[in-house]
Symmetry: C2
Subunit: 243 residues, 2 copies
DNA sequence: CGCTGGATTGAGGCCGATCAACTTCAGTGG
DNA sequence: CCACTGAAGTTGATCGGCCTCAATCCAGCG
C-alpha cells in the first residue's frame, strides 16, 4: 500500500477555509485563537496544516505513535484493524465534519489504519496544541468533552441482531452523517458493499440480498453505489424491530 | 422498580476511603484537591458524597438530566436501555475502579438506567465540580481525556461474530476487570446468564450451552454463578478465531 | 415442604454464511 | 468503436449455528 501525504501548509483563517469551517465541530476551538495576539510560542495555532488525500491513500498507520487528531472537511475515510487471525476488519467510517483520533489517546498509538475512500481533505490538529489550547481557554473544556462524548454515542450498529436491522440502521445513519437535504435522500455510497458487510459483520452477499429485498419492498432505490432512501420511516421501523 | 439512594455524606480524605482510592482511576484528580486550602467556594471538593446501593437498587434513571459521574468503588452495576419495541437491553457492566457517566455528557441526560447487581459503593462526582477542578488544574486535563479514551476502548464484544467468541471474550474481560489474582482466576458472576446473553445479543440458552461446552473441553469450571477459568490462553485462541 | 427464578438440556426451524456461477460495469488499449 | 479484463455486485443451492419453544433440574427461601 502506498503511503504519501501531500503537505500543503497554510493559515487556517484564510477565506476559503473559514467557509469550510462553518459546519465543523471544532470550529469554536479553532476560531478562538484568531481573536488572540500573535505570540505563537505561547498560543500556537491549533491547526498547522491540512492534507489532501487521494482515494486509497493512508492517513495514519496502525502502531504509529499518536500525535494528531484529524478533522475531516471533505470526503470519507475508513479505519481498519488487523484481527489476530490475520483478517482485516473495518472499525468505522468517518465523514465530513467528524473527528478521527480520540480512540488513540488511551493506548498512545493508533491501533488502526485510516484510508481515504474518496478524495479527502482533513485538518491535522497536533494533540499537544489541542491540550494547550484547551488549558488556556477553559471554556473549551466543556465543549471538547461534549464532542468526544457525542462521538462515543455514534455507530453502534452491532448492538442490533438481524442483518436487515443493521443494514437499515446503517443507511439511515449514512443519510444523516452525509448531511443530505431531507427532500432528496439520494447519495453515492463512498464504500463498497464488501466494506459495509465487513463493518456490519455480514457477508457482501447478505448486504446485496438485503439491498435487493429493500428495493422490492419499495423502501430504497439502489443500483451499485448509488442509492436513494424512499421510505425512511419504514426503514426506521425495521431498525426498531417492528417490521 | 424501587428508587432509593442512601445519602451518607462524608469527607473523601478520611482513612478508610483513602485506602479505597488506591486503585481508583480518579484518584489523582480527587487527591489533588487535598493539597489545597479550604476555601470551598473557589475550589470545591470533587466528591461531595458517596452512595451505598443494595442489590437491584437504581443509581440513575433514564431521561434524567445528566449532572454526575459515578466512580464505582465496590460492587457491580449494569446499565439498561429501552428499545423501541419495548424490550430492555443491557448496554454495559461497570465494576470497581470504573467510571459511569461519560456517555451522558453529549445528550445531556442519561439514556439508560443503572442498577446495582450486588451491594455497591460509588463516589458521586458532580460534573460541574469536575469541570472546575480540571480547569484549575490543567495537568489533569490530559489524564481525564486519557481515562475517557480508555473507557471508549473497552467492551466491544459485539464486533465478534460467533457466540463462543463473545462468551470467551466476555469471561476473559471479566477476569481482568474484576481484578483477580492471576493464580486463581475464580470468581462469582455478578450477573445472571440471562443478563450476559442480553448484553452479548445471545439467548440465555446459548450462553448456558457454551458454558457447558467450555466445561467439557476443560477450559472452565462453572456451576451456576461460580466460575473458574482453567485455560485462559485457549479461551483467547477462541476469541481470536483460531479454535 | 413446596414455591420460584434461574440454569440446563433437547428437538426443530430459520437466518445468514459458504460456495459457486453469472452479470454488470469501469478502465484500458487496440 | 469494440474487445478484453478485472473488480464488484447479483443470484441460487446448500449447510451450520443460533433462536425458539418446551420440559426438566436445581438451589435458595419462606
Amino acid at each position: 500500500m502506498s503511503y504519501q501525504l501531500l503537505k500543503h501548509y497554510f493559515m487556517i483563517n484564510t477565506a476559503p477555509n473559514r467557509a469550510n469551517c462553518l459546519r465543523c465541530n471544532f470550529d469554536a476551538v479553532c476560531t478562538s485563537h484568531e481573536q488572540q495576539d500573535e505570540s505563537a510560542e505561547k498560543k500556537p495555532m491549533m491547526v498547522k496544516r491540512y492534507l489532501r488525500l487521494q482515494r486509497k491513500e493512508l492517513l495514519c498507520i496502525s502502531q504509529r505513535k499518536f500525535n494528531h487528531f484529524y478533522v475531516i472537511r471533505e470526503g470519507a475515510l475508513k479505519t481498519t484493524q488487523m484481527e489476530a487471525n490475520g483478517k482485516e476488519l473495518i472499525r468505522g467510517f468517518y465523514f465530513a465534519n467528524e473527528v478521527l483520533g480520540y480512540e488513540a489517546i488511551y493506548p498512545g498509538h493508533y491501533d488502526f489504519s485510516a484510508m481515504a475512500l474518496t478524495e479527502t481533505l482533513v485538518c491535522e490538529i497536533p494533540y499537544e496544541n489541542f491540550l494547550k489550547s484547551v488549558n488556556t481557554k477553559p471554556q473549551l473544556q466543556k465543549q471538547a468533552l461534549y464532542l468526544i462524548s457525542k462521538q462515543m454515542n455514534t455507530g453502534s450498529y452491532l448492538a442490533l441482531t438481524t442483518a436487515k436491522q443493521r443494514v437499515a440502521a446503517f443507511l439511515i445513519d449514512l443519510s444523516i452523517r452525509l448531511n443530505l437535504r431531507e427532500s432528496t435522500l439520494e447519495f453515492k455510497l463512498p464504500m463498497s458493499q464488501q466494506d459495509i458487510g465487513n463493518y456490519l459483520r455480514l457477508t457482501a452477499e447478505t448486504v446485496s440480498r438485503i439491498f435487493s429485498r429493500f428495493q422490492k419492498l419499495g423502501l430504497i432505490n439502489s443500483h451499485r453505489q448509488s442509492i436513494q432512501l424512499l421510505e425512511k420511516e419504514q426503514l426506521q421501523l425495521i431498525v426498531d424491530g417492528v417490521l
